[in-house]
């Protein structure tokens, strides 16, 4: 095992543990905070893998914005009280499905790519930039459209309910 392996195992363990906690914790806001740790850990994994641009974007967009929104929604829905998990039987079935996914995915991937040591040699930031605005420019532009559509849709969905409610009063 190289030092990179050790580093990855450490960060990966934190990530996995935080992920597990974020889906099992019964206090909703703690679940959200564990998600922060899990996604931050994921950014760390990217960093260890040498994909620093992805790691920083993950940190900036996911942790800095997306999860904040999630926490925000948790606060706004005032959902501290009440059950947050399904019945225990349901949870067992869900656990089985989750384990199945892990086993299936892990088995397939490891079987396909093996344990052999390989060189880490990802593209540089410049190369990524050039590719985004070269090969991938149309998907990229399409993404901007998607974001716009999401923005409009979010505003539309959020305000429609509001208006209906006001209309009733």
């Amino acid at each position: 095992m190289t030092s990179r392996d050790v580093l990855f195992v450490a960060v990966g363990l934190i990530t996995a543990a935080a992920a597990v906690l974020s889906v099992t914790n019964r206090r909703v806001l703690h679940a959200g905070l564990w998600l922060v740790v899990a996604l931050g850990g994921l950014a760390g994994c990217y960093l260890v893998l040498g994909a620093e641009l992805v790691a920083l974007v993950q940190l900036l967009v996911y942790v800095g914005a997306v999860v904040v929104l999630v926490l925000f929604a948790l606060m706004l829905t005032r959902s501290g009280a009440g059950e947050v998990d399904t019945s225990s039987a349901h949870r067992w079935v869900a656990g089985a499905v989750g384990a199945g996914v892990t086993v299936l995915l892990g088995g397939t991937l490891v079987a396909a790519y093996g344990w052999s040591e390989r060189e880490v040699a990802g593209p540089s930031n410049d190369a990524i930039g050039e590719q985004i605005f070269g090969t991938w420019v149309w998907p990229f532009e399409l993404l901007s459209l998607l974001l716009l559509a999401a923005l409009v849709a979010a505003v539309a969905v959020a305000t429609t309910g509001h208006r209906r409610q006001e209309g009733e009063r």
């Binding site: 206090r27 806001l29 703690h30 905070l33 922060v36 931050g40 620093e52 641009l53 920083l56 974007v57 940190l59 900036l60 942790v63 800095g64 914005a65 904040v68 929104l69 926490l71 925000f72 606060m75 706004l76 930031n125």
Partner: protein, 320 residues
């Protein structure tokens, strides 16, 4: 001067820590004094000559105070929040260059790094707001969350404009690519960045999250002693980081006469000016209402930042 790697890292860490501990205090002291003079009064005069040791005295006071955790608080979240608020700025400070050679951690995409790391600091506020078990804190935390998410966008866009102009994401590279006419070319972006930075710091006029007349002290209502001191430190550290970042991005960092030797001094000088500008805003301006605040971000800053991006794009294509 070749040092062993470990020694160099330790040395740099110590220097950054020292800077992190002294600069915010200096800012705090400056705030006291500048505010006092602008308001035509003396300010703290008792501790030390001309009140210089006031902040040290404050620190001692904070340490002596009892650290109360409210009964309704979410204990761990409440306790961790000050640290989460503070540490990102420490990490960010390490990546900001003072001159071409004076940079603790010269990571390749340092601009993105600084922005990404500082964006994590928001969790400190959110955690404090939630964890205090206090309705004012919750409202303040939500205000802070909304404000920070809104202002992060124009801030990143304005920074992206500079990065585009310089053709690099490295802060060192940006400062080296800077030339004086960027002052005009990037002016809209600079204004957007400055406004967004003040909003990110939740300082007047964008301090609705901690508006004392409405929500007591927002997320920090329940804190006392060291926890409160940490938040205060985080705020001043934020001013330091944002001033330095603004200096490096828009004012050319260490460029100036004899920048080979005097580089860090120039950086410090410019950053001080920016910091005083931020302090001045607090003293001179009234608070912006919550809806006005959101409006400003989405209706003014984001479009201006986008226009600046387009302007930069045109400039890069035409002159580049």
């Amino acid at each position: 001067m070749e040092l062993p790697l470990t020694v160099e890292i330790i040395l740099k860490a110590v220097v950054v820590l020292a800077a992190f501990l002294t600069l915010p205090l200096a800012i705090g002291q400056t705030e006291h004094k500048v505010m006092a003079h602008m308001q035509g009064r003396l300010g703290p005069m008792e501790a030390g000559p001309h009140g210089i040791a006031q902040l040290v005295a404050d620190g001692i006071k904070f340490v002596q105070k009892e650290d109360v955790t409210p009964a309704a608080a979410d204990r761990w979240v409440f306790r961790l929040a000050p640290a989460v608020a503070l540490i990102p700025y420490l990490i960010a400070l390490a990546a900001i260059p003072w001159s071409a050679a004076w940079v603790a951690a010269d990571v390749p995409a340092s601009l993105l790094f600084v922005l990404a790391v500082t964006s994590v600091g928001i969790f400190g506020t959110l955690m404090a707001g939630w964890g205090s078990g206090n309705k004012y804190s919750l409202v303040g935390g939500m205000r802070a969350g909304a404000q920070l998410v809104s202002y992060e966008l124009p801030m990143v866009l304005a920074a992206a404009s500079v990065a585009m102009a310089a053709g690099t994401l490295s802060l060192t590279g940006i400062a080296q690519a800077w030339s004086w006419w960027w002052l005009v070319w990037q002016l809209p972006g600079a204004l957007v960045f400055l406004i967004a930075a003040v909003a990110e710091l939740q300082r007047v006029p964008f301090d609705a999250p901690v508006a004392d007349a409405e929500v007591v002290f927002g997320p920090y209502t329940e804190y006392s002693g060291l926890g409160f001191a940490f938040f205060l430190l985080a705020e001043y550290a934020g001013i330091v980081v944002m001033s330095l970042l603004f200096t490096v991005l828009f004012l050319g960092g260490w460029s100036g006469p004899w920048s080979d030797t005097l580089g860090p001094v120039w950086t410090l000088l410019k950053a001080t000016m920016v910091a005083i500008l931020i302090l001045w805003l607090r003293i001179a301006w009234p608070r912006v209402r919550e809806d006005q605040l959101q409006r400003l971000a989405w209706v003014v800053l984001v479009p201006v930042a986008l226009v600046q991006l387009a302007l930069t794009g045109v400039g890069v294509v035409v002159w580049g």
